[in-house]
Symmetry: D2
Subunit: 143 residues, 4 copies
């Protein structure tokens, strides 16, 4: 079971992560150390070539990691990204993007995981991007 609920993360984001609301990012599922998130198709995410821009995809991936980290350690909102590596594999069509995230390692100080991003409804075509990221967990959190 996740150590924070979907509703709690949504409330935290509403208060302190305006970016998430502007992009319209949403949690579809949450496990312990894993999640599925979604970014709606919006015209403002497009770039030349009629495809979803890299920054929008990276924003979704970073959000997925944040949700997965909190799902594993609870409400430690000061967890921050230290490294994010994005590989763009195909040009997504305009439309919603799904991000599937799982933590690969959860240590006391660092969490590391991967996110596969797909065009909604087209998982069979393979991921449009694959992201790995490391989060730093602040010391002294209450367990």
């Amino acid at each position: 079971m996740p150590r924070i609920s979907k509703a709690e993360i949504e409330e935290l984001c509403a208060q302190a992560l305006p970016w998430v609301g502007i992009l319209g990012l949403a949690i579809e599922e949450i496990g312990k150390g894993s999640c599925r998130v979604r970014m709606p198709g919006k015209e403002e995410f497009l770039r030349p070539g009629g495809t979803v821009s890299g920054p929008a995809l990276m924003s979704l991936a970073d959000y997925a990691m944040y949700v997965a980290v909190l799902s594993a350690i609870g409400r430690v909102e000061l967890a921050v990204t230290t490294n994010l590596t994005a590989n763009f594999l195909r040009r997504p069509k305009p439309g919603a993007i799904i991000g599937d995230c799982r933590l690969i390692k959860l240590g006391k100080r660092l969490a590391y995981g991967e996110v596969s991003l797909y065009s909604e409804g087209e998982a069979d075509a393979g991921p449009v991007a694959h992201v790995t990221a490391t989060y730093s967990i602040p010391p002294g959190r209450v367990e």
Copy 2:
């Protein structure tokens, strides 16, 4: 001399990259294969801890690379990111961020460069993030 002017890139972004306008990204200087860009301080970029969010920083870095690539090859708007690796080094204070970009390699098919991001007016404190990225250049462009 750059192979595209600041004004031309700004016009291209106004037409086809709504994201750039939403974030308020601007070009401060442009060389051939290099540039300095700026992201204003905005409340919507903040995250818990009162610092500028990673996705906002990555958006600025990706924009810097796009500008640097076009400055070297001209108006090839379909150039796309294939890899972006971001390392977050310090938490930036709320406020404007400056990005200094230079291409390390410019080939026929790929461009690779680095971007150092600073809090405006605090370059002495060292970069808040360092980003490397690879852009894929579509074949068949007119020289």
Copy 3:
């Protein structure tokens, strides 16, 4: 079924990749676009702290990707790494290391995949390193 056999890759490496023999790298299993490889425990791979050095782990990961790429496209020995990102997650004890590799994308020009590295017999403890890599596939290969 893989498009090249274990024996063919071993022969290719014996002829043209002396490094693989020096390290003692071996293929344990080969699929189509996936493989399991092994590096024996050797004193020369150790580093201060009594752990296997990063370069030895990266060598194994790069070999795993090479084998996985050839398993998918056949004997295209000029395929080369363009990007390799390694995240070191735990310090491996001295001893053999296993690498599990799968391709995430196979295009005409690029292959991208991931490798999870484990201490042999200790997969339950989680990976000691996780690597992603992109290979460039030369044009004009016979299908």
Copy 4:
């Protein structure tokens, strides 16, 4: 001035990093937080296409970072790589490779830097590879 001498690092490597001797890696210059290292041309580093293999280049880059970190913090031999990202930009001809390293950030717990690798005598042709890496510095070291 560096906080460790070339001779001290060489002695440390002779005792505890056999890999460095096997590859023939050497320090050409050492500053405080920077260094130039060299890997000789050896037949065992070659790969199909008659070029220096990626793992040999990454080994040199990782060594350069280790030297640069120790040059900044002194003899903290348990400093370890946590992330290494290598971008391969051109195929080096057989022959010696030079690595120029500088730290971009030196914190209490992490050091981050970049390494540019060149074919010896051909710096004008541009780097053959560009590497960024993060080292973890163990706590409690004597200053």
